[in-house]
């Protein structure tokens, strides 16, 4: 049962198709991309019986409205948005049946940024390099807009799980504590700056997007001004440009960067960053590196 399933009337500030991204192409300049809050995406998919990595909608600060062209089963997770189906409130974190012809509207989330709308069958869009993720920096795919029609894939074998509502942690409006591993270039920064990184409350700037979250706070200073030959970065990398105000890279980040990365947020905490709103504050808690750093000045002569 595939075919046109819904038509978008309003897409809010940014609505894109996302799955878990495209791995293996960073060496050609293509980042992973994919859902910024992967836990919310996989949950939404499970709630409608889809494979965890099925393609769904990532909605930024709500504002999505669409008309069902046929009966749909959907689930909404992530940033908690008020949802209505033909004006009647519908639940979050659960499978919702939508009759053909009904209008589904997402309001503005109280907290968090990104909500996920999974549709039973998964969204059927052309895959580029193995993924349906829209990558704004690499220019793969385009954001959805009014009038766009969405098709679904085949109904999965798995049924809709029998539960009323998934117990999900709502994104927090308080300061977020993120675990970081210092490095690879922590040794480029002054001791004072390393202390600031771990003690300050870093405010999320409004100029944040899927590429990265800009942070404002104390100026992080390098021991001496040096030029870094471009090197690879990953989502979670906290890059510090010359103005000393860090940028925390998200899924559509540049694959290489020419500013030093002072620390990297751990994989499990990236979903929290995806839900950090402008004005919200982040705190970084350093954890020990999985492997000790090898510096030129303390590299063992023999191994």
């Amino acid at each position: 049962m595939s075919g046109e399933a819904l038509q978008i009337e309003e897409a809010g500030s940014l609505t894109t198709t996302q799955d878990l991204g495209r791995a293996g192409y960073a060496w050609l300049g293509v980042p992973r991309s994919g859902a910024l809050d992967p836990g919310a995406l996989t949950l939404a998919n499970r709630l409608v019986g889809n494979p965890e990595d099925a393609t769904a909608l990532e909605v930024t600060l709500g504002g999505l409205r669409f008309v069902a062209r046929r009966a749909l089963e959907l689930a909404i997770t992530g940033a908690p948005v008020p949802v209505t189906v033909d004006g009647r409130a519908a639940g979050l974190g659960c499978a919702v049946h939508v009759a053909a012809g009904s209008t589904v509207a997402l309001g503005t989330p109280r907290v968090g940024v990104r909500s996920y709308v999974a549709l039973r069958g998964g969204i059927d869009v052309p895959r580029v390099l193995g993924s349906a993720s829209t990558d704004l920096l690499a220019g793969i795919g385009t954001p959805l807009g009014p009038g766009d029609r969405i098709h679904l894939g085949a109904v999965p074998d798995a049924g809709i799980p029998a539960l009323d509502q998934a117990p999900v942690a709502t994104p927090s409006a308080d300061d977020l504590v993120l675990h970081v591993v210092l490095g690879p270039r922590d040794d480029w920064f002054t001791e004072a700056s390393l202390e600031e990184l771990a003690s300050a409350a870093w405010e999320v700037d409004s100029r944040s997007n899927r590429v990265g979250v800009r942070l404002t706070g104390p100026v992080l200073e390098q021991r001496q001004r040096r030029e870094l030959p471009s090197e690879g970065t990953i989502p979670g990398s906290i890059q510090v440009p010359h103005n000393g105000q860090p940028v925390l890279f998200l899924a559509d980040h540049p694959v290489t960067g020419g500013y030093p990365v002072i620390a990297v947020v751990t994989t499990g905490d990236l979903g929290l960053v995806a839900q950090a709103r402008p004005g919200q504050r982040l705190r970084f808690r350093p954890v020990s590196a999985p492997l000790p750093a090898e510096r030129p000045d303390r590299e063992p002569v023999h191994r």
Binding site: A23, G24, W27, I234, G236, T266, L291, E299
Partner: protein
Amino acid sequence: MRLLPCGDAALLVEVDDLRSVLALAAAIRADRDGGGLADVVDVVPAARTVLLRCRPGPGVLAGVADRLRGLETAEHDAEEGPQVEVEVTYDGPDLEDVARISGLGADEVVRLHTDAEWTVAFTGFLPGFGYLVGGDERLVMPRREEPRTKVPAGSVGLAGEFTGAYPRESPGGWQLIGRTEETLWDPERDPPALLAPGTRVRFVRVGP
């Protein structure tokens, strides 16, 4: 080879120079193709480093680090990469500037550009935008004072020690010396980038 931490699921390997980067990246790819380093998801060579993004999991990074230290990189020199020819029309808007800055004259700039065997060191900036090295040192160029807001797809340029070609239209600050009709990026091709790291490149003058 120095291993630097990069979060809980990646390692940044720092080496001495670009030549070592090319050898190490080639050795890593060969080892992974042979079934080793199976936990490595992405390999990102750059100017002095190779980034390895791995599957998250306990002990994964330690295992990858051990395997890396045992890799024999010496036999993977740049000469092993595939070879491509890129046809270029040398009529770029900055060719005269490059000729003036280098003091060579336009014909000599083109001759040096086409005589060299370039090697793609790494990519970045845009999907399929390769940074090619191996040119004559007289072609080392500063970036333009004022970057262009629109550089057409296929533009061939110089910046620093590198030459490169824009896979699609984008802003850019490279000194443009020509243009190519080659399809530099095609997601349906394997690999999608014509100028993938390790590829050896000769530019062929087709005009003017």
